[in-house]
Symmetry: C2
Subunit: 159 residues, 2 copies
DNA sequence: TTCAAATAGTTCAACATTGAAATATTATCC
DNA sequence: GGATAATATTTCAATGTTGAACTATTTGAA
């Protein structure tokens, strides 16, 4: 499904790569959701539980950095996880602006039971690519991501 | 930012590729939004205008297929574009269930003025990858995407 | 010390997104 | 031809998402 735009070769190449990257990502997310290994969790909820599981208690801002979401959004995501009894909030004593979020027993049990299945679904989704193709894809994505992040930092530097 | 999960090599490889793909995509979208070439359009609004521009008038369901969004969502996206006078709706005569969406003059002018700049921003974003790296990345993404879509089709076949 | 700047989180409005239920229309099968 | 299935869109509730304005708290500098 390449672009219909007629431009220079460099433009068509970049646009096609862009579309393919975006569509692969969208298709992958939809596939994993359909697979049912996320139970009734949204991506952000899943990411939050996973971060807490692998990194231990974090304050909301830290979680937002990990899953690339705004602070306003984190309030809502943690609200909904708290309503379901999967995480708990506690105001930090050292810095009373911060709120430490941690897994409850139920949250830990849930993520422990889900994660292996979810990882299995991801392995299966990438099964069509050989090991070296997966490495290549990962390397190219990392290179692209890093370049963009560094560019943002350079821009921020000037202000 | 690799996974913290300790699993088999195949699991770690797939998980790392997954994370890098997802993060590259997120970073890229954020970068393009920050660049300002989308004006006050959301991704879905931009995608809708672009589809109408390159493919001509489409009914809502067709647009949703192009930009991978649900029909319920399309109602809202087209609503908001219509409010801004960028598209118009007309009920189809051949099939009165369908609604043809087309660009207004304002919509056409907007996308015509935006698209080249936006394409330029995409070229620049991918500039860090060589031409052959871009081709490789595109090829790997297409392969992954196609495999997942075909799998969905095979599943749907059985029902 | 005290006041200004920075930081963490919340709130809010606007738009996005899905999935399910509802409506309207068209197609199909007996 | 008429019941039934399929299709296109809308509506709704729940959640997500951002960015901006706001509050509370901490930090840093005069």
């Amino acid at each position: 499904m390449p672009t219909h735009y007629k431009g220079s070769p460099a433009e068509e190449r970049a646009l096609n790569t862009y579309i393919r990257l975006t569509r692969a990502n969208d298709t992958l997310q939809a596939h994993l959701k359909r697979g049912g290994t996320m139970r009734a969790l949204t991506e952000s909820q899943f990411g939050t539980l996973e971060a807490l599981y692998h990194l231990g208690p974090l304050c909301q801002g830290e979680i937002g950095e990990k899953i690339l979401k705004s602070s306003g959004n984190m309030t809502m995501v943690v609200d909904n996880l708290e309503k379901r009894g999967l995480v708990q909030r506690e105001r930090s004593r050292e810095d009373r602006r911060q709120i430490e979020v941690s897994l409850t027993k139920e949250g830990r049990q849930l993520i422990e039971s889900i994660f292996p299945q979810h990882a299995g679904a991801i392995v299966q989704a990438f099964d069509t690519l050989s090991a070296s193709e997966q490495e290549q894809l990962g390397t190219l994505c990392r290179k692209l991501g890093h370049a963009l992040v560094n560019e943002e930092l350079a821009v921020a530097e000037k202000s």
